[in-house]
Symmetry: C2
Subunit: 217 residues, 2 copies
Amino acid sequence: MSEKITADHLEGFLGNRRLMEQLAFILEVEKLKTILRRTLLLDRSRVETDAEHTWQLALMAAVLAEHSSEPIDLLRVLKMLLIHDVVEIDAGDTFAYDAVARASQAERELLAADRIFALLPADQAAEFRALWDEFEEKRTSDARFANAMDRFQPLLHNFFTEGGTWHTAGVTEPDVVRRMEPIAIASGTLGDLTERLIALAVEQGFLAPRAEAEPRA
Amino acid sequence: MSEKITADHLEGFLGNRRLMEQLAFILEVEKLKTILRRTLLLDRSRVETDAEHTWQLALMAAVLAEHSSEPIDLLRVLKMLLIHDVVEIDAGDTFAYDAVARASQAERELLAADRIFALLPADQAAEFRALWDEFEEKRTSDARFANAMDRFQPLLHNFFTEGGTWHTAGVTEPDVVRRMEPIAIASGTLGDLTERLIALAVEQGFLAPRAEAEPRA
């Protein structure tokens, strides 16, 4: 039945065009529950879904907002986070440390954003698309804090699962340090913690330092 | 390692007590990803997790806020929704149409709330606990709208999976009508849609009318 859930179809038997467009969007983005990420649950039983990841980022933003170095509007941050990954319904989850996949990621995600936000009534399509663009561009304090949550969450999971996706071939400390840069930009406090967690991860063998991973001459 | 993630443990190697309490809470409630609900995904591949359900309610609240019959503070609604189910980490998911389990639900959930919110720094523990109590009591417009989302989401899923949990033995139209009452209280528009969806569900055989389920004399 999933193929049939368009606003046209819904309007046919339920009426109220505006509400049906909102419903079509809600039912479409529900697919975030079927998109798997690389990040392990803390109990290591499986990887998380995009929907679960998204909930956790929103929760973290609500709990950690006070650590933002700049003033933020938490409602905007939450809305931004709630929709930040919906493009992965079409574009898939791109592994943070997969350079090949990341090269085509931006283009795939733009096409997805064009399709998915357009399901909403025009005013809301514009609002949520603008929030998604803002998240991607990282130029406002709200976007910087939202992005910090998006980096900090997998860091926590990798640390507390003794390495997690850091054990992927070729991933070393400098990659992780670079990937986590947005955290310190948004929050000095969380940036300090990130630095400490990365150092501990290397110390405990959860993450390879550069030297070990490089081929010996 | 999950057993060790307490603020005491974290403070020991990371310092910053307040941040460690926040982290202990975040890592504890991550278990919402492991609590299964009865509601099917729209593609019917499996049931959803509490974390996925929670994300979807927050997203729905952000998209549907304009339909609230009373003024609401969307930020409060979102915070309330983000934590409304964390008690299920201890108390489990109680099936909406299981009268026996529901009898002991309130007590189990109160104990869980006492334990889980207390992981946070005292000021945040008080804030989030008050939001959880408010959600449970349904006495404010914010709580009424949040509860409406919590009822409307499984209704949508049951309808668009041709019945879903409504096919459980003994569940009939009057049970669903009663269960969905909070929707119309919070939103006339969503209440009308709910009524229409229930009528269509009966018409299409997704939901048993009372007569069919009652034993014949």
